[in-house]
């Protein structure tokens, strides 16, 4: 069996990629995908821990997180659509009406 620390390492790497992607990329859709990557990294960690501890709670938590992520996608894409319709752009740097 693969030790749990491998999974945690992988999920840590995924989480870091998500954070970096959020900070570096400029396309709103890609930024949003990075956020989803962060959530899925957390899911992987929870599942690995749940298996290690031998409890079902973790798996239920993952279902809840997935539901929340799906709701977030629904709302998020609608907001991005609205932004695109009015601005004709999906670049985060175009959201610059308000500063400081």
């Amino acid at each position: 069996m693969v030790p749990v620390s491998y999974y945690i390492l992988l999920s840590g790497v995924l989480f870091s990629i998500g954070v970096l992607g959020f900070l570096i990329r400029r396309n709103v859709i890609v930024v949003f995908m990075s956020v989803e990557l962060m959530l899925n990294a957390a899911n992987l960690a929870i599942i690995a821990f749940a298996r290690n501890i031998g409890s079902l709670t973790g798996q239920v938590i993952v279902f809840l997180v997935m539901t929340v992520a799906a709701a977030e996608v629904g709302v998020g894409l609608a907001i991005i659509m609205m932004f695109y319709r009015n601005k004709k752009s999906v670049n985060v740097d175009d959201g610059n009406l308000m500063k400081w």
Binding site: F49, I53, L64, V65, V75, M98
Partner: protein, 485 residues
């Protein structure tokens, strides 16, 4: 998970169920009511809030627990439920005339406010990290939609996009934090975490590291949600771009809900780690106060000014986390109740000063001379501003006083000195609003604005509340002191 052992007591979550039912009814009405009848949706919404309030009142003092501690009705939860329901009630009253002016009377707007309130109540009345997370997401997702409610308005779009991206980013940190805490302790129940932490049964190598990383990620996640510096960037933009009642709502309810969860997590579950996290909260508190107040000095937009003032107030409240102890917790409860009144009142005045074509600017110069033309608005704005800056005899002074004194008692004199200096800086920009309203001549001939009944009611009740609690704070203080977990 053994289902037969689940203890189920529906009475505990009756306030939440009421809100959910009313929210869904409003969604249906939005779909099926003809356009000229939609005005009743707002009234149905506040009736739902009042019903839920009555169920909460019925639960006060029962100390019930249900769903294995995932829903409970201790006094702390009920106190916060009162706060949320009262703030949502005022926000709905503000929205009644605001939406009519915007010609956007819609049921889904009120439904989302009810859902957000439901999420806040969930956050305050649970002992489980996962339920806190779910409540937080219900609140956040409703607010993302609400802050982008003016679909054609570029600023509203931008506010909603920024709020959404920042909020989702914070959610990522929060979930990962919960994952690490679950991995190192095997539970997400706050009371069990509190019991388990001293028993060092190592199930994993590097367990302590995981736990510390998890706590750090939780602080980052909640830092975004309560908007403390350096996680505050979204707040001024959202305040400026979102519809005014929603900005008021964000500053009142969701922020208090974040503090309710933070109080339970850090002063209950991780209280034995206090020496480790106290420095982080010290730094967050000082950064929030100082940055919030200094940036507020340059603002020319009243809504942005209130956003930065709100960031500064988060700094004052975080002092209580450093101080710890029962007097600090009751200080937070008192502070939040007063803060909600002040902010909702100030925003009610902003809404009554706005008009459809001018909505979304709210510059100071539009307020020049307005206090003399509209003495009612002027006098109450002066009360709210004085209270926000902490002048006696308003309640804002007492709220600050109780938190600062609890910190002095615990020996954090340096922090309190920084906070007092910050309060003095803040007087400058709060008084500037009053100066503009009463002493600057109006640029053009302005007519006195007509105040709709519902807005006038909000201004009157919040204003009188601030003065009343400033002179007779004892009932509210006793209530806050009895509501400590």
């Amino acid at each position: 998970m053994d289902l037969s052992l689940m203890d189920i007591n529906w009475r505990v979550i009756l306030p939440e169920i009421t809100l959910a039912v009313f929210g869904f009814v409003l969604l249906l009405l939005e779909a099926f009511l003809p356009k000229d009848k939609k005005r009743i949706t707002g009234h149905i919404a506040w009736i739902g809030i009042v019903l839920s309030f009555l169920f909460c009142l019925n639960l006060y003092g029962t100390q019930l627990s249900s769903f294995k501690g995932m829903a409970l009705s201790d006094n702390f939860a009920i106190f916060f439920s009162f706060l949320f329901l009262i703030s949502s009630f005022f926000v709905i009253l503000q929205s009644l005339s605001f939406l009519k002016r915007e010609e956007q009377v819609r049921g889904d707007y009120y439904a989302l406010i009810l859902f957000a309130t439901l999420g806040m109540i969930l956050m305050a009345s649970t002992l489980d990290l996962v339920v806190i997370f779910l409540g937080l997401e219900i609140v956040s997702i409703s607010l993302y939609i609400l802050s982008g409610f003016r679909k054609k308005d570029l600023k509203s779009n931008e506010a909603s996009l920024k709020f959404f991206l920042m909020g989702a980013f914070a959610t990522g940190f929060l979930v990962y934090g919960i994952a690490l805490i679950y991995g190192s302790l095997g539970t997400t129940n706050l009371e069990k975490i509190f019991i388990l932490i001293p028993l060092t049964e190592t199930t994993l190598p590097g367990k302590d590291f995981l736990l510390y990383a998890g706590i750090g990620l939780l602080i980052v996640g909640f830092g975004f949600k309560i908007a403390s510096v350096p996680f505050h960037m979204w707040m001024p933009d959202v305040f400026e771009g979102a519809p005014a009642p929603i900005a008021a709502f964000i500053s009142a309810g969701p922020k208090s809900a974040g503090f309710a969860a933070l109080l339970r997590i850090f002063l209950l579950a991780f209280s034995s780690f206090k020496p480790d996290w106290i420095l982080i909260f010290w730094i967050l508190s000082v950064l929030s106060m100082t940055t919030g107040n200094l940036l507020a000095l340059w603002q020319t937009n009243l809504k942005r000014l209130l956003a930065y003032s709100s960031i500064a107030h988060v700094g004052y409240i975080l002092i209580a986390f450093v101080a710890g102890g029962n007097s600090a917790i009751s200080g937070v409860l008192f502070y939040l109740s007063i803060y909600i009144l002040m902010n909702l009142g100030a925003f009610a005045i902003i809404i009554s000063m706005g008009s459809k074509d001018r909505e979304g600017t709210d510059l100071f110069k539009e307020y020049a001379g307005a206090g003399l033309k509209n003495p009612f608005l002027g006098v109450f704005m002066a009360i709210f501003m004085l209270s926000l800056s902490g002048f006696p005899p308003t309640a804002g002074f007492l709220a600050k006083f109780y938190i600062f004194s609890s910190a002095v008692k615990s020996g954090y004199l340096g922090l309190v000195i920084i906070a007092v200096i910050n309060s003095m800086i803040s007087v400058y920009y709060y008084l500037r609003v009053i100066v503009y309203m009463f002493m600057k001549p109006a640029e053009e001939d302005i007519k006195p604005v007509s105040i709709p009944f519902s807005l006038g009611l909000v201004i009157l009740v919040t204003g009188i509340g601030i003065l009343a609690f400033g002179i007779l704070p004892q009932p509210l203080l006793d209530l806050a002191y009895n509501s400590i977990f």
